[in-house]
């Protein structure tokens, strides 16, 4: 992957930069020793790594502002970092950058059940938000697979989704306000508990901006009443096409499940061996989950079952207890870990219209033959968000490159089918140069114009989101 040459003027001033930041931090710390910065040289997108100039770990909004002000004045690029769980290299450093981490800012600031919201610091982990409000009968809906580790600040930056967003939406639909620090170190409150502000929807453009516009240090999140109960059903099919058609039929019927998860044979076998979930021996499998009271769940599952039967399932497994429900989810939740045992893999994140599911899966299969690589499919089927896992051998010369080429072809296929490059992992560095596939020059120019306003020197999260060639002139300003 192409990366710009580090700015020699920044590298030469390392000692002064570090000293200035150290002086500005009271409780936070700065790491600049090469041995210690190694821990920050990549995120969960491990294919590439680069040690940063230094890492600043802030403990307050004021400290984030102080570090940004210094970096702005000294023209130093800044890479914001939450928990470092990005799958697209959203927190990949450059050699001339300061990584600014907010993981030490993990306080809950306010729980307001009357107005159904919670205000937290950006370093708070996703799952611990739901844990904190559970005693009041509420939960926070976006639930990315990494929810045990990933931070709310990162969720806001990437507009994270999860298994349950078919019903509840993604981060942008559950975000009420943020405290944002601009690159110049100014602290701004965006959004609020009043639904309408009168101005532009800046919250909407900040959410999902991948750290291009500012650093979020606090967020007010919408919380939802916990449903009375939830229960999954497992359906096995002889072909992926039959499973895909069943998904579209369920969605069209008027039942709105909270989740519809799809797994193909390779993933079913791998997860079953790994977790002992007891999955059936079928080509494709769906886990469909509905929510409500017991009677409502029975009613909805009855409807789903009637629809499914028209698509001739080979297996129907209905849960009769919380233990059986957990067992149905066991393998799915372990899917990414289980696939790791089969070898190295690249996890894609393309989205297609649900109606194209069967056709795109067939074309992906054809591509795997062309590239002589194995691809496992596990994804959120209800919203067409595919996660093809391309298996390769990192120790074999050329294997990664071949896998990346296949990945690119699959993503091009998603865009051609009417979909997009990324549904929840973000563009990051991974899909930066593929943005030309989905957007023309004017489309990209309009997005870059927004960044110009927030970050005129283009210092925030460099080399991400926008193709290097398209952003060349702007990046050379600094």
């Amino acid at each position: 992957m192409q990366m710009p040459v580090p700015n020699p003027s920044v590298l030469a001033r390392k000692d002064a930069i570090v000293a200035n930041i150290r002086a500005a931090l009271t409780f936070g710390s700065i790491i600049s020793d090469a041995k210690e910065t190694r821990a920050y040289e990549c995120d969960a997108y491990t294919a590439y790594s680069c040690a940063p100039l230094a890492v600043a770990l802030a403990t307050s909004t004021a400290e984030v502002a102080a570090v940004l002000k210094i970096c702005h004045e000294m023209h130093v690029p800044v890479v914001p970092r939450g928990s470092g769980t990005s799958l697209s290299g959203g927190a990949l450093p450059t050699a001339d950058c300061v990584v600014l981490g907010t993981s030490r800012m993990s306080e809950i600031l306010e729980i307001d059940t009357a107005n159904r919201c919670i205000r937290v610091q950006a370093g708070r982990t996703n799952l611990s938000v739901s844990t904190a409000i559970e005693p009041f009968g509420f939960f926070y809906a976006p639930d990315p697979s990494s929810q045990l580790a990933c931070a709310i600040g990162g969720n806001v930056a990437m507009n994270s989704g999860g298994a349950h967003c078919l019903k509840y939406g993604v981060t942008t639909n559950n975000l009420l306000a943020v405290t944002l620090v601009t690159m110049t170190g100014e602290i701004v409150e965006i959004g609020g508990l009043n639904a309408e502000s009168g101005g532009l929807d800046l919250l909407g453009i900040i959410c999902g901006s991948e750290g291009q516009l500012g650093i979020v240090t606090e967020a007010t999140l919408r919380i939802l009443p916990k449903p009375e109960g939830a229960r999954p059903i497992l359906l096995g099919f002889a072909t992926s096409e039959a499973a895909g058609e069943c998904v579209a039929a369920i969605i069209r019927s008027g039942v709105l499940p909270v989740a519809i998860e799809f797994m193909d044979r390779m993933v079913i076998r791998a997860t079953d061996e790994f977790s002992g979930a007891g999955y059936p021996d079928v080509e494709a499998m769906l886990i469909v989950e509905v929510e409500g009271s017991n009677e409502e769940i029975d009613f909805q599952l009855g409807k789903i079952l009637a629809i499914a039967k028209a698509h001739h399932p080979e297996t129907i497994l209905q849960s009769r207890s919380p233990e059986e429900s957990a067992k149905i989810w066991l393998g799915r939740k372990a899917a990414f870990g289980a696939m790791g045992r089969l070898g190295d893999y690249i996890c894609l994140d393309g989205v297609i219209p649900v109606s194209e599911l069967a056709s795109v899966l067939r074309q992906i299969h054809d591509l795997t033959i062309k590239y002589d690589l194995k691809v496992g499919n596990v994804f959120h089927a209800g919203d067409g968000n595919l996660h093809p896992l391309i298996l390769f051998d990192a120790n074999k010369a050329g294997d990664l490159e071949r896998a990346e080429q296949l990945g690119e072809e699959i993503l091009r296929l998603c865009v051609a089918a009417g979909g997009c490059l990324t549904g929840e992992h973000g563009v990051g560095v991974e899909k930066r140069d593929l943005m030309h596939v989905q957007f023309n020059a004017q489309d990209l120019e309009a997005q870059m114009a927004v960044k110009d306003v927030f970050d005129p020197l283009w210092l925030l999260n460099p080399t991400k989101v926008f193709p290097l060639d398209a952003s060349q002139t702007r990046r050379s300003v600094a």
């Binding site: 009357a114 942008t172 009043n194 009168g198 929807d201 909407g204 969605i251 919203d383 067409g384 110009d452």
Partner: protein, 392 residues
Amino acid sequence: MIFQPKSEGDVSEMLAKNREKLRVIGGASKVQTWRAEPTHTLQLNALSGVTLYEPGALTLVAKAGTKISEITELLAGEGQYLPFEPPNFAGLLGSSGSPTIGGTASANASGPRRVQSGACRDSMIGIRFVDGIGTVVKNGGRVMKNVTGLDLVKLLAGSFGTLGVLTEVAFKVLPRPETSANLILHGCSDDRAIQVMAKALGSPFGVSGAAHLPSRQQTVLRVEGFAESVTSRIVKLQAVLGPTIDCEIDDDPNRVARLWRDIADVALFVDIPGSVWRVSLKPSAAPVFVQSMRQSAIELDVVYDWGGGLVWMNVGAANNAATHSVKMALAKAGGGNATLVRASSDIRASTQPVFQPVDGVVANIEAGLRLKFDPHGVFISDRQCFSSQSNG
């Protein structure tokens, strides 16, 4: 001069040449809010038609000038709907126009179901627009999950045509609930009503509407879904709110639909003259705001929607819009946003509230964005609204 483009290309061509102030019109349903006559008008009603509808993928794409009524009818044929319950203010404003999908998106106009299904912008998944110098831009797409690049869809939603002219909008649609029922509570004070609505919206029974109508002494909670489910949930809801509560269940879906249509469209104020404000604030602060307005001795009629998060207020036909009182009351309530929606042209002319962001940095960012998308400043906004600092 009135331009009526037939295509996105026409819009682009016209804007590339134009340097005059310009008002963009969809269905002209909000014509009464216009303040001054601009030089040019860009009327989008000829840019009409549904370009893609896939019921199985819950996706609908339509050109900006398509009437909401046309879309609603098409969706109903497949048992689906726009979940954000688009309001129609034509009656309130005495206009003969009909809301379009582009106007609705530009205003982020959202009805009572916002408390459950989000605002119009939450259903918007893609747009095409033309900026102030004629550049055609697309953002988002036709799939419901998409984080590819910066989200200009949200930025354009609710920007009231000040950043660009929407030419096409893609929506996530949802299955229309089989039936609905209201739990109607009688005689709640404003304070009590807000508490009851908060409790109902915080319950797991899927309340999809929570409004309080003081003039009718009614607090209304809506539950929607499959018939069996609605019956069981509304009974549970009643139990949670307390056995002694004075209430009744209305399970006639037509009556329920009519009442919420009236709340969405502010039908209560249609035949009552007077200036009308739309106030958005923290739900629990709404009674403080209204109390403060009443103390300023203004003859007042009020409708609370969104569990208190939206207050519609008729301040009567006196010869001012009570702007000062509204500002004071908002400050007392801890902040929010108020828009003068209906007023006589005299009152409008003598009223100055035009939106200024409270925060200087925010003001600079907004000005910077407008300059990028509309460098010649051709798009005009007629809104008369202001915000006061929120304590949220």
